[in-house]
Symmetry: C2
Subunit: 242 residues, 2 copies
DNA sequence: GAGTGGTCTAGACCACGAG
DNA sequence: TCGTGGTCTAGACCACTCA
């Protein structure tokens, strides 16, 4: 049942992977051109390219059109902390990364109406976040908040956190749906990842005590450097202290 | 910035996708052979195959070597309910699917020792679960339990649930780490999915009130038909400021 | 054995990036 | 402009499935 022929592209990918992980090829270094590699391994270009595609899908190699193939720098792993949590951890990323935000006012359409449980054309504030480590993007987030909840002033993530923490009917439930999929073309280019590298997609819906959806967030995290952590604690019924 | 050339393979994939979703090609139906499709679209076989690879990665098409390409049956979506929860929902899947289990006694090695926080060579019970809908596998789970916790009798999931629910130091914390990645070759063949289809990987660690790890589970779910749901409820402190 | 998909070749031509 | 990767061709041969 086990395939005895590892196929050339896997053999080549294994060899290159070993050279990368063992340090013979260093982070950020440019690989020889595909033509050179093809002659070195005595395979045709399509075969060599399929070998590189494997490494690209693993996040080990980054291809830059017209420039070359590069050993991907080992990026800091980021952990999305689920469960909302205290306002201090609302940004939900364990490490402080450079963050950019851009806000626009939109009207609810299609799936946003069902997600936020609002009538069509309701005014919403859409905030697009991206986090970066250096020049490389780390994550992508679309956050939607009903317009009357958004502070009129700059929509930084902390602002939203404060707004949500100060809600008069306080936040009562956070629901997070997590799925794994391949990125859309837009996500792949924005995150600078291969379109064959899996992404972690988190849809977060926060509801206040009155049952109103006060925030919906669509997060996209590259699978090779991000994961999500959910911790559930049980209060044992023997009301065990603090 | 927008690519004006949709490339042949995308055009072909779009056409086939439309035919599938619109019902012109029905679920379970076999597509024309790759050679026929290639002549129909007047492209070479590698080009046509790369178009099929796109659909395969989306979970729309299943390739069966030596047999043909088939329209994938729309499978029931399964939702993994996070947070452990009551024993009744311990199996953590919303729909009752056919489930098979196989148990073996092993000794803790490498990352299992760190995961379960036990010394090397500790006796463990490993249970391998697979869930099926009909003939197609739906999920894959490796569950590890310290040997002295496992009931000596058949290791069905309910048994484990009961064992954990009856622990004398009760279960106090469940931690779940979720990531998105491509499947290993073994996972891809076991789940009968393309190795380019993302999977959702959940590592669950359950700890009792004494701080002992009583269960570790490694779950693998196909990204095209599974997601994980986490719900966090807040006990609102009613003397909040106004 | 007939027909299917899986892998690979040895080129060609196009699109992009840097100098 | 030049070298890079991106796409595609028109085959060949192998491996698998089913009758």
């Amino acid at each position: 049942m086990i395939r005895p022929v590892p196929s050339r592209r896997h053999a080549i990918a294994d060899d290159l992977r070993r050279k990368i992980t063992s340090g013979h090829l260093r982070a950020g270094e440019r690989l020889p051109s595909e033509a050179q590699l093809a002659t070195h391994y005595t395979v045709s270009t399509p075969t060599l390219r399929s070998a590189l595609a494997l490494l690209q899908a693993e996040g080990l190699v980054e291809k830059i059109h017209g420039n070359g193939n590069f050993v991907r720098r080992p990026l800091r792993r980021i952990t999305y902390a689920g469960g909302g949590g205290a306002p201090a951890t609302w940004t939900a990323f364990s490490a402080p990364l450079r963050m950019t935000a851009r806000a626009t006012n939109i009207e609810a359409t299609s799936h946003l109406t069902t997600l936020l449980n609002v009538p069509p054309h309701s005014p919403l504030t859409e905030v697009l976040f991206t986090t970066h480590e250096g020049k490389t993007p780390h994550s992508l987030a679309h956050i939607y908040v009903p317009h009357d909840i958004t502070p009129a002033t700059p929509p930084l993530p902390e602002q939203i956190a404060v707004s949500l923490a100060d809600l008069r009917p306080p936040l009562s439930e956070v629901q997070e749906r997590v799925s794994a999929r391949l990125p859309t073309h837009e996500e792949a280019t924005t995150l600078r990842i291969s379109s064959s590298l899996a992404v972690l997609s988190v849809t977060r819906v926060s509801t206040d005590a009155a049952g109103r959806v006060v925030e919906a967030a669509l997060l996209v995290l590259p699978g090779d450097r991000a994961d999500a952590l959910f911790t559930t604690r049980y209060v044992t019924d023997e009301r065990s202290s603090n």
